[in-house]
Assembly symmetry: C2
Homo-oligomer: 459 residues x 2
């Protein structure tokens, strides 16, 4: 139902006429993320500062209108979708890097800054921001924080959560609070910062982030190891970790992923391989050389048919581009995909790989897997054509079986994509009624009227 | 007021007669931590499993009795003290390491396990648990989690928060929940794990921890750099960080700390020095040698009169023992001390050092400072004799001034000791009414009747 002129007028007074959209053709652009369904809001606002965010929230609260914060709309689980309509709050105008403090290894930035641009800005000063989702070229710091984005460097460096020291947040009550610290440590009061991280826009609107930085590693090398079978590749991952080597990335691609990426990118990937590992190590020149030699030994001993190190930075970049292209390139296997993001203990990857193969055989559906093997974080893609109800039914059953097996192995349903709407129905497989009840009470403590991003995460 | 026979009988039925204390002479032993005041509970229970914890909480809730969880009682801010009486729940019988998983670099342990013993157990398997509070020889994993303990290795490795993947928690409602994951990553639902960490026993009772481990570094070297003035030492710290070197520890001791530790330990510390830095680096042999050379150069350039590397592991251990002895050894300067734990951005340490000197001069009270310079985390000790009301008044004013200056520099009131009772009165200097209101609502979401550890953190 369209907003009345009165509501639109009020919103216009807060953000300005140029920063409010309410025509259908504009709203359509803000109804999508990377999940298949679309939900159109009644209006999109583009606030410029925390005061405007607070004013919009106060108005929405007084009228009982829901508000869905939105970064770049590149999320994988529907976090930025206004499933009950209402207002989409696009944070794209919060696009300033406010400070890069080389003496204290911190930065202050607004949530609409594109993560890849932030990475480049700090790297220009010899600093390093490790969180690196495949979407980094277009996703934002705020969206990454709301979903607790990961990426390939998490093996050594952790995820977004580990790089956020403090936040400015506008609560659903219109109150503007500061959480956390601007220092290396801090334990005063409850950890509101990490509670906000990964809360998918349901607890508050992030309007500023204080981020922890590291020194930029002096040297990086990227290796590939080629295997005839996925199981052997998976066993190598366990063996590298068991040896106490900590590469910054250990990614894997199965045969279907390799073929997809190769068709898309022509990166010279071995399309006849059962799987490849892409392994990156960083540190001093000597340290990197030592790690490359050790990893190479482990890979060969485990049965890799070929192990090589990228000869140049450009070669390494092509490899990473190929890896990052897998997800969008997959549609060659079917018009629709269900994209999952399970995590198992690293040593259980071979078990999981066998399960995925069995499920694929059982359902007759193509299943492509790739992802962050070093973390046990497997992106499983079930390819299907939704026009065939039997495929949809089989795919849904496969997802349910996949999740059951994941949990039986000690895993979790999502490593970095979040719950949103796509995993909401499965959340109770992992989270007990008591824990979910507690989460609902926390949601209520933050947002008593339930106006912020309703319909997500079953809270 | 002593508990009735009826209440004691009920408690006895839950934990067994041998695991309940209620005689005054026994209660006295559980009325202390390292803060100066004592608060005696009416009973101390020693539950053995989560079911018993839940039963005690259910009983307490039905009777409106408060329950204070207690680890080793070595906290610095009164977190384990039953300030309103009631039941102290001593977690010492939860003393089992349940699993050390070398393949996945995780461990599962009960909260009463002594941190130092846990460190040794994982090191025996080539693994590494970095959190390392000075109390590690006697404090527990559960107490460390409740306070988010730090220690000297935080510069490179972070604090307790960064090593807890998941928890089993008994809520004040008697519900037993599991939080977090057993894997490297996980983002399903709100981050209850990090909300529990640092919540000082006010939100639930931790009954099991899943901990993240790292490979044990192959090599460690410990260096000392001796300075005529504290400011020069502090400037060196900034310069090391600015150079992009990340030692695992950068500790400092001022002259008063050096003299204290030397008298206590006879470790051969330079008692005529203005300050010393104790710097530890770890990694491969080559990496360590490179870092030692670079750090040595920075220290000398900055004005260190002497820089040396400990010749043996035994020598390094003596140095660390001396460093860790400072806090207890300080009483040579006065019968009482106020022990603060501020953090400032690393580059502001010289400014803070000057402020502490000025406050000491102004009040005439001895102020000793030492701590984790690499994190900007300064342990300031104000020595006094509480029998003199003017000293008490001056010391309290100095604390207030110290905190104001800390916050003005962009710092925080506590890096690792927490708020408890000793900092509760100052909490509103750092936390706004809106944020504190939110924390109170979170407390209510977890513990609707306020039975868990009341009187702490102003929640």
């Amino acid at each position: 139902m369209a907003f009345t002129r009165h509501i639109l007028k009020k919103l216009e007074q807060i953000v300005g006429r140029a920063h409010l959209l309410h025509q259908k053709e504009d709203l359509v652009c803000y109804g999508y993320d990377t999940t298949p369904d679309a939900y159109y809001p009644e209006a999109v606002v583009f606030p410029k500062n925390a005061g405007q965010v607070a004013a919009v929230l106060n108005l929405a609260r007084s009228l009982g209108i829901s508000v869905t914060p939105r970064g770049a709309g590149s999320g994988m689980t529907g976090g930025a979708l206004a499933v009950t309509g209402g207002i989409v709050m696009a944070m794209t105008r919060f696009n300033r890097i406010l400070a890069i403090d080389r003496d204290n290894f911190i930065a202050v930035a607004e949530p609409g800054v594109v993560t890849g641009e932030f990475q480049k800005a700090v790297e220009a000063q010899g600093l390093f921001y490790p969180p690196d989702p495949s979407s980094a070229a277009f996703s934002t710091l705020g969206g990454n924080a709301a979903e607790c984005a990961g990426g390939p460097k998490a093996v050594k460096y952790g995820v977004t959560r580990d790089y956020i020291l403090g936040l400015e947040v506008v609560l659903a009550t219109g109150e503007i609070i500061t959480t956390g610290v601007q220092t290396a440590k801090g334990v005063v009061g409850y950890d509101l910062t990490r509670l906000m991280v990964g809360s998918e826009g349901t607890l508050g609107v992030i309007t500023k982030l204080t981020l922890r930085l590291l020194p930029l590693p002096a040297h990086v090398e990227t290796m590939t190891a080629v295997y005839d079978s996925m199981e052997t590749a998976a066993e190598t991952v366990s063996e590298i970790i068991r040896q106490g080597i900590v590469p910054r990335s250990i990614e894997y691609m199965d045969n279907a992923s390799i073929c997809c990426a190769e068709e898309y990118m022509k990166a010279g990937l071995p399309v006849d391989a059962g799987a490849i590992l892409i392994i990156a190590v960083d540190g001093t020149v000597h340290e990197v050389a030592e790690a490359v030699a050790r990893i190479s030994g482990v890979c060969k001993k485990a049965g890799a048919r070929d192990v090589r190190t990228a000869e140049s930075k450009a070669d390494a970049e092509i490899l990473w581009k190929a890896r990052k292209s897998v997800s969008p390139a997959l549609f060659k296997y079917g018009p629709d995909k269900i994209n999952e993001d399970i995590v198992v203990p690293r040593s259980r990857i071979p078990d999981m790989v066998r399960k995925i193969r069995a499920l694929s055989k059982e359902t007759g559906l193509t299943m492509v897997s790739f992802g962050h093997a070093g973390d046990g974080n497997i992106h499983v893609n079930i390819m299907l054509d939704k026009r065939h109800p039997d495929q949809v039914k089989k795919a849904n059953q496969a997802v349910s079986d996949l999740f059951d097996h994941t949990l039986a192995l000690g895993g979790t349903l999502s490593g970095e994509h979040g719950v949103g709407i796509t995993k909401a129905a499965y959340m109770s497989k992992e989270i007990s009624p008591a824990a979910l009840g507690l989460m609902k009470r926390i949601k209520k403590a933050f947002d008593p009227d339930g106006i912020l991003n309703p319909g997500k995460m079953r809270v």
